[in-house]
């Protein structure tokens, strides 16, 4: 549980700092008409805050899975690590490219360049689908080589964690489809821009999660 606790401690420290900075020197019982502005800074728009909270929840899911992974690994000599097929590296590169493509789409959206926005949005989606295909191939190859889900706890965890990551990405693709739909009908461009932005941040986040999971699988 150490990893989860570190994650939570970081969140809590951040939160405590925020609460204390806004409460220590305040005298709540004084009515003075005005008040200090303790809304979040402007750059934290409502959709962004919403996404950030969701990412905290998702991080909690991943942190707990990683904690469970470690706990289980430390407990038994029966743990037989899963090899990391070369294809995983390819998939990693595809995922990085997918993230980059979305970033470009977002950049284009901010430049008010709807053609670029749409082009890179499609490229990002296509790369993500390619990543899915790649992951399915990895699972198939591993199963074919005798690394069944049930053969060893390490295998179960491998499938569980990569599956969890894929599920989150799948959720992302739902958002992506909605963004594409907005991009194609006459939704105002700032709304589309927000959608693209949220997708991009989410993709970057899942990329980081993928790095962490991949590193974990490589090193253990």
């Amino acid at each position: 549980m150490t990893i989860t606790l570190v994650f939570l401690a970081a969140l809590l420290a951040f939160f405590l700092g925020w609460v204390l900075s806004r409460t220590v020197n305040v005298e709540p019982w004084v009515a003075d008409g005005g008040s200090i502005n303790d809304h979040l800074p402007e750059i934290l728009t409502t959709p962004r805050v919403g996404l950030a909270i969701f990412l905290a929840v998702a991080s909690s899911v991943f942190a707990l899975s990683i904690s469970a992974y470690h706990m289980r690994m430390d407990w038994g000599p029966d743990w037989l690590s899963v090899p990391s097929p070369a294809l995983l590296w390819v998939n990693t590169v595809i995922l990085v490219l997918g993230s980059l493509a979305l970033q470009w789409s977002w950049n284009a959206a901010r430049r008010d360049d709807p053609a670029g926005r749409r082009r890179w949005l499609y490229v990002g989606g296509a790369l993500t689908c390619a990543f899915f295909v790649g992951q399915i191939l990895v699972w198939r190859d591993l199963t074919a080589a005798g690394y069944y889900v049930t053969a060893n706890p390490a295998n179960s965890f491998f499938y569980f964690m990569t599956g969890l990551h894929a599920l989150h990405l799948l959720g992302g693709l739902v958002a992506w489809v909605r963004t594409v739909k907005r991009d194609r009908d006459d939704t105002p461009s700032d709304v589309v821009c927000t959608s693209v932005e949220l997708c991009t941040i989410y993709w970057h986040y899942l990329l980081v999660i993928w790095f962490i999971l991949f590193a974990l699988l490589l090193t253990t």
């Binding site: 939160f15 806004r22 005005g34 969701f54 909690s60 469970a68 889900v149």
Partner: protein
Amino acid sequence: MAELGHDATSHAPPREMPEMELPHGHSFWTTYVFSQDAKTIAIQYSVTAISVGLLAMVLSILIRLQLGFPNTFSLIDPSAYLQYVTMHGMIMVVYLLTALFLGGFGNYFIPLMIGARDMAFPYLNMLSFWFYFVSVLVLIASFFVPGGPTGAGWTLYPPQLISEGTPGIHGGVILMMVSLGIFIVGFTMGGLNYIVTILQYRTRGMTLMRLPLTIWGIFLATMLALLAFPALLVAALMVLLDHLAGTSFFMPAMFSMGEQLPHEGGSPLLFQHLFWFFGHPEVYIVALPAFGVVSDILATHARRNIFGYRMMVWALVAIGGLSFVVWAHHMYVSGMNPYFGFLFATTTLIIAVPTAIKVYNWVLTLWHGNIRLTVPMLFAIGFIFTFINGGMSGLFLGNVALDVPLADTYFVVGHFHMVMAVAPVMTIYAAIYHWYPKITGRMLHEGMGKIHFWVTFIGAYSIFYPMHYLGLMGVPRRYFAWGETAPFIGDDVVMLNAVISIAAIAVAAAQLLFIYNLIRSRKHGEEAGPNPWQATTLEWQTEHTPPTHGNFGKELPVVYRWAYDYSVPGTKYDYIPQNVPPEEVEMAEPAAGAAKT
């Protein structure tokens, strides 16, 4: 806005909130069923939660009938008994309390109390309710599958959760896990809304330190829930894989009738860690909103400002943070390194400090207050009593040496019912009696309310107090009957069990009276007017009662003070609503005779 700034140079003017676009309903379906108005969603949540709560209450009566009068009811066999216990516990904790405090109270009070028109993401909010609703249906469906619902206890410990011999290991377990999964997804949608709304949509002047404590409690509890429910989600997914795909996350190698079962190498302890990493914060997910609600009700009905507001906020934060590092106190008897036991006993006992601060502050709020013993006030005071009692027995169980003999006895059952069953339920009643007039425009019947309170209060104590004694006598929990140990069980235990069961039936009857009161007062209650309790918070200052979609009139209210300006010296009335500017506060007439001296 300069006139609002106390010191315009150091204090940035409050941000203007953009007007929200409200998705108004256009047909019956979008107005009452798939509504995106937080208040309607709140009522949907509450009605659903209270309905399953009643089901769980019926189950508890069935449990009590068996325990109080064994061998009388052939309907209840050992399997059914365990299934009732499990479903009772799970429904009460997750589907009643969590859903009602956060989905029900959160949705109703957050926008109204912070001066917002609605939640930040109304559509998501609506989805949240429907996910919850489906999760309830799936849960109920498990009563109708072959084998019935799971009987593994609300803690769902593997391996027995999915091993032959436990009731409901086929459809029942699967539906339970699926239902929990749906619940968690739905809750996440709602929780996002509560947090974002509180962060982004506070009206002008509503700083963090002017939030009513109810909002602080809901805010922090939501954060706990968002971070803790994932543990249950991960555990539920792994259980499903163990059960359906044959993995061994939690299932160790086991032999049954000389044959090895297919699983091998899983760790039941891993499940316990995940479960309690959710399970302990869950206690506070229920308790923090209760703390908040009680604080506000005490201040209003004692006509005094809450004592130590900032302390109260910090104590809530501290309790919330600490609640993540005590989970293993539920696992003292599961086997762990003694140093860990020591560590977790210490963190557990440390929680008593902020908790005690809160209790002192409540009592000091009442001290010299102009206490009005209204029904909500009675329930709020009932909460304080009960919470202290439950907290005391918690100190026993928090110590490893005392927990070892007491674990899995009725002492534990008595303890957790005091702190997390009776105490939060008291708060729920306090809140409903307090806010019903705002929600419906009519008062609940006071006489019936008082009967409801006294029967519930005295009844709950007659049920759960003796359970501590039973526990000390060594009576184990989750036992259908005592079997061959029956000769060692004294007559006093047998008699007490019968008494407890009779008290339970009386309490249940009182709840039906309450339900009747709810329904009757909707049409025939006394007109309440906009602010029957003369309270300060924004929800009582709305143009309409009940508030319409959008909550406030054309203009959002501006907040000038905290929520606790009761009995301010020198003013004419004994309360000043949060949205009254300083220059409009009416001063008292100087006392006659004062001029002469």
